[in-house]
């Protein structure tokens, strides 16, 4: 059964769109800086990282568009709204999962592409045949982000810099945000909290990026 609709407070329409666009832009900024640095080194590890943040950016922008149409900011027929909403959320789900998998490949230094393809193929049926896309998505995201956060915790313990602490902190918050979106089923206010936590996580990533760019 297709169920991807997330109930939300009426007053939050538009705010969620903005926060998602904000997250998408920051992810793309990180991808852009990563690309510039990849060109300096041609290191393969940057490729997966770069791709993951491009996908993450695309994922959030896709959802932002979907929510913008749901919020009825465009004067179009309900059929178009439904189509864009569905396409936007499906895009968000698959792009985000692919992004998290690539980030796992980057952080755990997984070189074998077949492993990544296998992991993605294992995730997809679980999602497609589940009773609720959004519930499965947030559970899978929580698990993937938990492993990514663990890798960043190890990195912070090794490096001990403010920037690595910001990255670690950001991913703790991103991991926390996922179950908060699930709690939305109980009460709309969790949707607001989840977005607030997620937005704060992306602010921390932006802070980390600014610290890097200001390094001369």
């Amino acid at each position: 059964m297709l169920n991807i609709y997330l109930p939300r407070p009426e007053w939050f329409f538009g705010v969620d769109t903005t926060l998602e666009a904000f997250a998408g832009i920051i992810a793309l900024l990180i991808a852009f800086v990563s690309y510039k640095l990849y060109r300096s080194t041609n290191e393969r590890s940057y490729k997966y990282f770069l791709a993951s943040f491009v996908l993450l950016g695309g994922s959030f922008l896709s959802r932002s568009v979907a929510d913008a149409f749901l919020g009825k900011f465009f004067n179009v027929s309900p059929n178009i709204i439904g189509l864009v909403f569905f396409g936007g959320y499906v895009g968000h789900i698959f792009l985000a999962l692919a992004a998290y998998l690539l980030l796992i490949a980057s952080t755990y230094k997984i070189e074998d592409k077949r492993l990544l393809v296998m992991m993605f193929l294992l995730l997809v049926p679980g999602l497609v045949f589940s009773a609720s896309y959004f519930l499965s998505f947030y559970v899978l995201s929580s698990i993937l982000l938990l492993f990514i956060t663990w890798a960043y915790s190890q990195n912070y313990r090794k490096v001990r810099s403010v920037t690595s602490a910001l990255v670690f902190g950001a991913f703790i918050l991103l991991t926390l945000a996922q179950p908060l979106f699930i709690l939305d089923m109980r009460s709309n206010i969790w949707y607001v909290f989840a977005h607030a936590v997620q937005a704060f996580a992306y602010l921390m990533l932006l802070a980390a990026l600014l610290r890097i760019l200001l390094k001369r």
């Binding site: 300096s40 490096v159 690595s164 980390a208 610290r211 890097i212």
Partner: protein, 88 residues
């Protein structure tokens, strides 16, 4: 603290820059603080990535810094901070 790969690349390219953009292998070996074997491996990689090129001056083999190599040196601090922050 143990040198990372990008630290070693930086040391090698900086050594070439400090010599005016061109260096002979012996000087590079000394300045990079690597074994001959490891230096050879790094040189192959740096040539592949076009961060330096091989040349000849007065019948001697030399290594020259490329524009890409200069770019690496210029962005090194940012590169190092980014690599460390995101565990790359």
């Amino acid at each position: 603290m143990k040198r990372t790969k990008i630290d070693i690349i930086y040391d090698m390219l900086k050594a070439i820059q400090d010599k005016g953009g061109t260096i002979i292998p012996t000087h590079l070996l000394y300045k990079s603080n690597l074994s001959h074997q490891r230096m050879k491996l790094y040189l192959e990689e740096l040539k592949e990535k076009k961060l330096l090129i091989e040349g000849h001056e007065k019948d001697k083999l030399v290594y020259k810094l490329t524009d890409e190599g200069l770019g690496f040196l210029k962005n090194f601090k940012q590169l190092k901070e980014f690599t460390e922050a995101f565990g790359l």
